[in-house]
Symmetry: C2
Subunit: 136 residues, 2 copies
């Protein structure tokens, strides 16, 4: 049985990581996004969130980690992702990303999954859906 065939609708996986200041610094370097809401605590104090927040796309990377490492796992090719950023993520927050297989399209070897990230208080910080392809 191929790895694609072994994946069933309803299969789930999760990945948990605490977001550190170093993550934010490295993400800024990689992306070029130095928005002061992420980097400048004096600036951030005057915003609606009162503190520096993590880049939304940094947190979203935990979804990419599950898809690439667990479900479907190594070899996964990312086709699409929708992301709704519902709540801010602060330095020190522990984020759990969860994915669940919603649909499979066998001819194309494509898999649609729900993708959710929650913080340590079980509050949803990101919700969305992914479509991936697994050739083997």
């Amino acid at each position: 049985m191929s790895r694609y065939d072994s994946i069933k609708v309803g299969d789930k996986a999760s990945f948990t990581k605490t977001i550190t200041e170093t993550d934010i610094t490295l993400y800024g370097a990689v992306s070029g996004d130095f928005n002061p809401v992420h980097f400048n605590s004096v600036y951030a104090e005057k915003t609606m969130f009162k503190n520096r927040i993590a880049h939304g796309m940094l947190t979203a990377g935990l979804i990419s980690a599950i898809l690439g490492m667990q479900l479907p796992g190594p070899g996964t090719i990312y086709l699409s992702q929708s992301l709704s950023f519902r709540s801010p993520v602060f330095i020190g927050d522990t984020i759990t990303a969860q994915v669940e297989v919603l649909e499979k399209e066998d001819e194309k070897k494509q898999i649609k999954l729900s993708t959710v990230c929650k913080n340590q208080n079980d509050k949803k910080v990101i919700v969305g859906e992914a479509i991936v392809m697994l050739k083997d």
Copy 2:
């Protein structure tokens, strides 16, 4: 005039960056995504792309960089992003991310933008839309 009010439908901005192997390594560290399609050239040779590819969400970070740094710029709060990964990005590819204001929703101070990333051959590698909020 507020910064929000100064932004007009049709406004555009872009950001260009060459994706390096270091970017991929740092993005793996930040996200936890060590999918071998990104990290293992022996593995990657056997895939449809024949070479290591950058994480889709790494390339998508260039969109975040424009939104946070240029248009709308500092203070921008990311509300949502859709991403369709159309073509692979390889180490050494030079990616230009481009955004254009599509709509404004004045009561909510929200702005919808088209978001596109192209490689050095003008091939679209990511297409999608973003919604952001700018309070000031």
